[in-house]
Structures are given as C-alpha cells and as structure tokens.
Amino acid sequence: MVRYAMVTDLRKCVACEACTVACNAEWGVPPGQARTKVQRTPIQGQFPNLMATAYIAQCNHCDRPSCVEVCPVEATFKDANGIVQIKAEVCIACGACVEACPYEARFINSGTEKADKCSFCAPRLEQGEQPACVLTCPAHAKFFGDLEDPKSEVYRKVRLEKARRVETSQITIGPNVYYLGRKEHIELIASLFPPRQK
C-alpha cells in the first residue's frame, strides 16, 4: 500500500519562498493566502548567542487527522494513499477544520470560499509528476514519495537518516511531513505548536 510522505531538509532550506510561489501558481491560490508557507521561528537567546530556523508549514496529512473528525458534512477525508483530501463541492466552509488543525495548515480560500490546504499535489501525482514545491525548490530541500517503498528517497530519509515529525506530548495525530536538521531546531519548531483551545 502506498503511503505518501514529505521530508523537508531544514539544513538545506533557505526560506526563499519559491515553494509558496510555485504552489500558488499551480493551484490558483489567491496572493496573500498559501497552502505552503515559509515560517520563521522567533529568534531565541540574546545577542550574540542566537538560534532560529525557518521551516515550511503545510498540511501534514496526519494518520489520525483532527480535521476529518470535526467536519460536519464529511467533505474532508483521508485517502487510501494517506492524502487528506477535500471535496470542495461538499464543503460548506464552516471553518471547523481550520480551527481543528493544530498545525494551522488550513484556511478558507478567499476565491473559492471553501476550505483549502496542501493536497500533496494529488492531481500531479496522478500524472506521474512530483509536487510543484518539490520540483521548484532551488535548494532541493524537499523530498516526496512513498514511505512504504524502500527504494524511495523519503523512505531513506525517514527510516535511515531519522527525519523527525513535529509532534509534542499533546499533539500526537501522526503527521506525515518530516524534517531533517538540527535536533534543537526541530524541537524549537515543535514548541511553537501548543494544543489549540477547544
């Protein structure tokens, strides 16, 4: 069974936002909104002993997606290949999923007025193409593939190089976006995701 996952190598990412531009262009996301966003952690420490990192925020296509759970009309669901999808024609834009996502990956698209988020470029995958962000990244910092396929880059990076999920003791819904990089950077990113108020 295919199980799609993405790996971002934070050592390579230079936070150039080419992924955001490629994604917005590919999916017609209105400028100012984004399915894939480059975020920066606040700078830690005092001059000159500082630490900070950028990271790429997007839908994590979680194993136990809280967005699916809360959708009142079953517009959002998890595909057999692991991709969390939205049926736009069913979505009533109530915003429950936007609230439920602890990674703040969802938004109401101001053009379509429906819930929106990264789809791992599912329509491109059907054409045998890589996701737009992976293809565009000048730093070659993003990797995409099947976590169950030992020949895939993501398998190697997750299973052998120990890319990590951004999880906390309270957010344990099994994200499928992994990060490679310094341990302290990944922990810093995780610290930015407190559990959301119910």
Partner: protein
Amino acid sequence: MKAYGTPNSAEPAFAQCRGPREVGYALTFGRGLGSPEPVDLEEAKLVVLIGSHLGENVFTSQITAFSEGLSKGAKLVVVDPRFSTAAGKADWWLPIRPGTDIALLLAWIHVLIGEGLYDKEYLQKYAQGFDQLSAHVKKFTPEWAAAITDLSALQIRETARAMGKAKPAVVVHPGRHVTWYGDDTQRARAMAILTALLGSWGRKGGIFLPTPIPRGGFETPDFPESIKGRADGAGTRYPLASKELGVTNGLVDATISAKPYPIKAWIVYGQNVLQSIPQPKRTLQAIEALDLMVVVDVMPVDQIKYADLVLPEATYLERYDRPTIVDTAKEPFVSVRFPACEPLYESKPGWWIAKQLAVRLGLEAYFPWATPEEHLAGIIEPMEIDAAELRKRGAMKLPGKPYLEDRRPGDDPHFETESGKIELYSDKLKKLGFDPLPKYTPVKPPPKGFLRLIYGRAPVHSFARSQNNEMLHALMPENEVWMQTKVAQNLGLKDGQRVVLENTDGDKSLPIRLKVTEGIRADCAYVVHGFGQRSAMLSRAAGKGASDTDLMSHVQIDPVMGGTGMRVNFVRLLPHLSPI
C-alpha cells in the same frame, strides 16, 4: 554605443557591485571570478561567508550547491553584523563590527602562517611573495584584531584553525555586492590571499577553474576610435577599473562637471539609475544637465519620469535574449531564451530596439544578422551542439575541467599575472602607488545617535525589479528596518511601529515598519534594498517601504577601481507621527 563612437558605457555590476572583487582577485590570481562565481560549494568542507547572505540572496545555482554542501556536513563560518538566514545555519557566526573585515582577514592569515596551517607545497609551486606577506602579518595577532572587530581572539583562532584543517576544500566566498567602504579592492585582495594560503584556488571544494567555451561571431567593421577617450575615469583616474564594464559614477561626475568634456545624452538600459547608483541627488543633478535621456525599461520605475523618451522593452517571457554562455560552472553551459508569446502593446525586445536604432543611424553593418535565430546559430556554431536540441532543452552542458589536476601542461599558464604566479605581494599595486599587501584602515564610526545603514536582499524580490509583481508583492509588500532590542527600548520605539529614517544630511525615507530584533548589532540598522519606489505607475509598490539608496548621500570611492563604498551612511530612526 561602440558603433556610434562613444566609449562611455558603464553598468552598476562593476562600480556598485563586483568590481573590487574582480580587480582584487585578478591582481592575485591573474583573473577575476566572473559570474556566477566558480565556488565549489557542494564539495566544500568549510564555507566562509563574509558579508554575503547567500540564501536571502538567491543565486539559484549557488543555493543548490550551498544547500547540498551543508547537508553533506560542510562547516559554515558567517561574518555578518546581522543574524542572516545563513548565520542561523552557521557553526560560527561572527557578528563583526562593520568595516573591519580586513583586520579579521589579516589575523586569520597571521594564524595560518604562524601555526603552519597553510598549504606549503601549493604555495611553493604556484605563489610568490610569501616572505613579504609573512613579515607583514606578524603583528596582526587575533588579540589585535579582536579589539578592532569586536570579536573574540578565541573565535578568530578557532575559525582560522578550522580553515587550516579543512584546506584545500574551503570556499572563502568572494561575495557579489562588495562596494562597501572604499578599501574594497584591498579586502578582496586579503580574501584572495587567504584563498591562496589554503591552496583552494583550482582545487576540489574551493574555487574551481573556468572551462572556456568557444563562441562564434560575425564579421563587423572595426569600431570607430574615440578621439576624446573615456569620460568615466576607467584606466586613468581609476587605474584598474574595467573598460568593458565602466564606472557609472564616473559618468555621473563627468555629466555634472562637463569634464573631461560635456556629456549631452544618456541611454539607460538594463539598470535603474535611481536605485542602483548611490547619491541619487547627484544622479538627478546629472540628469538635469542632459539634453536627452532615453530609458529602455520593462517597468515604469521612478527613472522614467525623467526620461525624454521611453522605449518600453518586452518582458523576458516575450523576447529572445542573447544566449547566456557560462564558463564558470564545473560543467560549462549555454542557455537560451525564447519568447513564450508575442510582446504586448508597444513593447519591443531589446535586440530589436538596438538593431533598429543602428539601422536608422546607418550603423546596420554592426548588426549583420537578420533574426535572433540567425544570431544564435552564429554564436553556437563552434560549440558543436545541435541548435534544435538546445532549443528543446533550453540549456546544454559541455564537459568541464574545473580543477588544477585536470589541466595538462598545454593548458598553462594557470595564472595570468605579470609573474605567472599567484601574487601574494603585488608589485603592480606598488607601482601604481597603492599598498602591495592589504592593510586595515579604520572606518569612521557612526556619529552619536546614529546607526550605520546596512542593506541587503530578500529572496522574494530581485533588486528593485519585482516589487510590483502581484504574487511577490503579496509575500513581501514592503521592507522593514531592523534595530536591536536594547537600542529600540532606549529610544522608546516598539516593534511594528512606523518610523522614518533620516541620514546625517537630513534626507528622509518614506515611513517604514520597525522590526525590533536580537539579530543585529547595536550599531547598525538594516533594510532590504529595492523598496521605497515612488512612481505612481507602480500600482502596488509605489510608496511602500524605504529606499536605502535615497539615504546614501555619501560614498567612499575605491581609488584602485572607482567603486562607490556605500556602507558609509548613518541614519537615525524617528517615530512616524501621522496616523496610518
């Protein structure tokens, strides 16, 4: 322009950008670096960035190689007064006092020589002047440099040792925009000397060698000889300035002073004189003195307001461009650009504008090709590549010989200096009356109450060109001014509030948002370049953010090559009072 008979062409790529570096490295190694810089970032074991913020400065091929090198475990030293994206990745971040880089470089050289960490065999084989260099740096200890640079002697020693250990696979990145303090050629010389000591020039993981690709051409008449000579000072006032790239500020000076002779007209193409050349008031004064100014531009930027005639150029998606031929890649390549659609409205491609001007002036013999396809075929003719294949793929690589060990005796000499060797000590500079070995000269500190204005790039925008693009504007509509937390607290300024920057001559910026951060030295203010444009025709960008160029009322000219040192301006931040 050459066919018309004027020697006066200049581009900011030299005197506002890479010029000092090209001259400094040519003095040392016999050739400049070219573009892109032949830096072997993917194979480096250690990368040293001095004032370069690669990452925020997105030079695509270098980003790919830099990221690859870092993920393979390359160590990184970042010398920058600001905590840049690269500094966030660094093993050593050295937040240096601005303008003191030469002191740091001399101390690094001192440690490498003093502790025997340099590449002795390489220097023996390829270099001259080691004894003079060794004597010269004897007194430049890390303790001496620590007091000047505001870094610790320990850090300076540690980083020098790391370089010694990683040699020759060390990239001391030569940088791109390096016209900072007017001693820039000498700083480039110090970086070149450091590179030589590490044995990195021509070595894997260091600075690789270009592989020249043969270019075809067309028979054209000789250019008419200029009777009056150049007006910009290249080769005269500025002895080592490039006559190919010219000195833009030299042309501004000549236009204002009418010396050595009056200049009556400017044709501005491919540059934005009010954003790229400092002292914009002087630029405007020069424009006032002209009888004619023609601007060829893609966007209605500020300078077109001053033009007598605007020739709107088609965008890159609508035109053929001259093929890009890159020798300074490990595998040299040629890339081509074809129009994706016809030019809109009255815009025309640059090649068409140039050729049509020539035809109307009776100079068509200098453009002996009818179409850009014919021109391209002529250029690539000796490359033995298939034009249809090139068109299909957009770019084609050729085999390269990037390292010294790839070279056979027939490829010599490697070093086109006067001595045929790497010149650690420069007789050429001495003969011209300049320091044959780099020296640190103190820079003027900020006056009380002012901060040094430093500036750089954001990855989203290209210079001042892209601020009006809808998608990019949405990602970064304006720039911010960075100020250290304590400094802001002392002034009672708050993160996010709007301020106005005022320089020591009373020039003020448009209002700009304040970013209060730990990530900058207390003596600096930082902005991203390219904002604060005023042209109302820039529907999105007009009036957004502050222009660093507008605040550059001072420059420190590099006497060797005429470059404008631009980091010699100071600003204070005033609260912007009117409500938004």
